[in-house]
């Protein structure tokens, strides 16, 4: 599903990622763990081509995304669902419109939008707030909108970059439970976090990154840094 080969990323003389190689199988749930500044977010940005690697390759579904032209990026991003720490919602659109946006950009017909968006809003528990604007909702609810948006176009991969970083413990577990459920439905999940409790509770594969390098890769890992 995802194959990273000898990936490096530098900003000038500062090296952020150093020769990383990694494979993620289809339907796997992988946590990228490491302290702040380890390079997790940079790796995530490279996975969605928000940044360009200094060297190395990234294959998603056997396609080298470091080689695809700029005009093809929207297609790549439609294959991937993204959840960000700062939610990245459109503030002047309602909950429903934020979620339906992911389908609209892919050219989905209205009938699909009006069938799928309510379904996914029910899954994340926001159907009753579909006409609210993001700023009228709590941080946890905003992250659930972002999760719904990442899910609605049924991506094969879901990437979550510190999705619980701005949430209280209750909302944190709401989001994690959602990610587990999404994974159980057959979506590959890549979760970047530095939350020890989450990692220990998940009991899934953990890739430890420190100083831009993969230092451990455990199939049923616990938080050990």
């Amino acid at each position: 599903m995802i194959k990273i080969k000898n990936l490096s990323k530098s900003y000038g003389n500062i090296s952020i990622l150093k020769d990383i190689s990694l494979e993620v199988a289809s339907t796997e749930f992988v946590s990228l763990v490491g302290p702040s500044g380890a390079g997790k977010s940079t790796l995530i940005k490279l996975l969605i081509r928000e940044e360009f690697p200094t060297s190395g390759n990234i294959f998603i579904e056997n396609e080298d995304i470091t080689l695809i032209p700029f005009s093809y990026l929207p297609n790549l991003r439609r294959k991937i669902g993204m959840i960000f720490q700062d939610f990245k919602l459109l503030p002047d659109r309602t909950v429903f419109e934020n979620v339906s946006f992911a389908l609209e950009v892919a050219g989905a017909p209205d009938i699909q939008i009006f069938t799928d968006v309510p379904k996914v809003l029910k899954i994340v528990g926001l159907y009753n707030k579909r006409d609210s604007f993001p700023l009228e909702l709590s941080g946890g609810e905003q992250q659930r909108i972002a999760t719904a948006r990442a899910l609605v176009h049924r991506p094969s991969i879901l990437i979550a970059d510190e999705p619980t970083g701005n949430l209280d413990p209750f909302n944190t577990w709401e989001i994690i439970r959602l990610l587990i459920r999404i994974n159980e439905l057959g979506t590959t999940v890549v979760l970047a976090t530095h939350d020890k409790e989450i990692i220990n509770a998940l009991k899934r594969r953990v890739v430890f990154i420190k100083n831009g390098k993969v230092i451990r890769d455990d199939q049923e890992g616990r938080y050990m840094l």
Binding site: I48, E50, F70, S71, L73, P74, N75, L76, R77, R78, M82, F84, K88, L89, L90, P91, D92, R93, E97, F101, A102, E104, V105, A106, G107, P109, D110, R149
Partner: protein, 306 residues
């Protein structure tokens, strides 16, 4: 079709929900469109004033009092053949006296002087010649003075008006040139102000554009709602400007007519605006929409490469 419907809806919603920013952009575009319309109207007004004054200029050819009317008519016919001549008015000695009496009817001294002449008429017959082109008056005078009828002529009053005519010609050219200079300058300044206002409005959208890119929207999909917003800004601003001018000119006309006393009935910007309403509306809409759309596209372009 779906794309058009969605982008129109998104553009309209964003326009509506960001009311303050939209109002600011419309206000600036309204000022821009109005400024350029004003400059066009000013240009038309200045041309009209110069043209009206020019139309009132003529060369007066005064004949000796003993010259028979027959010969004056012959000369008039001859003059009519000159290509530079636009019109000729004949004023007989009797008509000249009548006009003079009417003009000085309240002047007792003149009245007494005319009574003392006991029926004699000291005023000469005259021809008042208008040229099609004000630049041709000098040639026309030379032609008159070198014609075979010159011996009948007591005086030609062109030299008195020569400086005024020359000044008017020069003024006319300068006003036209300055008018265009102002049109171009004002248009550039107005476009830059509008462009920057819309750019600032879209600067606020920077993070939204980033989100759209990350969710997988392509450039066309991101641009389209902003382009739609630009169209709405331009359309609304130009329609407001169009009707504002229609109303404001009605109040300005009496002031202008008072200012250009003597040319009063000729200065009527309302009529000019009404008779050219289609071109003004077209100018305003095209300009408003063009500035709105181009500014939006350029502003979005800056943030689209994520």
């Amino acid at each position: 079709m779906i794309f058009l419907k969605r982008t129109t809806k998104a553009g309209w919603q964003s326009f509506k929900r960001n009311g303050l920013v939209s109002s600011a952009a419309i206000l600036i575009l309204f000022i821009t469109v109005s400024s350029v319309t004003s400059v066009f109207l000013f240009n038309a007004l200045s041309k009209k004033v110069v043209k009206t004054i020019q139309d009132k200029i003529s060369i007066g050819v005064y004949f000796y009092t003993n010259v028979p009317e027959q010969q004056i008519f012959q000369f008039k016919e001859e003059l009519n053949k000159y290509p530079d001549v636009k019109s000729i008015i004949y004023i007989s000695r009797e008509k000249a006296l009548e006009n003079f009496r009417a003009l000085r009817q309240n002047d007792d001294t003149v009245k007494r002087a005319l009574e003392e002449l006991s029926g004699q008429n000291p005023l000469p017959a005259s021809l008042h010649v208008k040229a099609g082109d004000p630049n041709k008056y000098k040639n026309l005078v030379e032609d008159i003075e070198s014609s075979q009828f010159n011996s009948l002529i007591e005086s030609v009053d062109y030299s008195d008006r020569q400086i005024a005519i020359a000044n008017l010609n020069s003024l006319s050219k300068k006003v036209t040139q300055a008018g265009w200079f102002v049109v171009i300058l004002f248009t550039i300044v107005a476009i830059l102000v509008s462009f920057n206002t819309i750019r600032l409005a879209i600067y606020n959208e920077k993070s939204k554009i980033e989100v759209m890119r990350l969710v997988g929207a392509n450039n066309v999909f991101i641009n389209a709602p902003y382009t739609m917003q630009g169209i709405l800004y331009g359309l609304i601003a130009s329609i407001i400007a169009f009707f504002s001018f229609a109303i404001i000119l009605r109040f300005i006309d009496p002031i202008l007519q008072g200012y250009f006393l003597g040319l009063g009935e000729d200065i009527n910007l309302s009529n000019y605006y009404a008779s050219n309403w289609f071109w003004f509306l077209l100018l305003q809409i095209v300009m408003g929409i063009a500035i709105g759309v181009v500014s939006s596209i350029i502003a979005v372009r800056k943030y689209i490469k994520i």
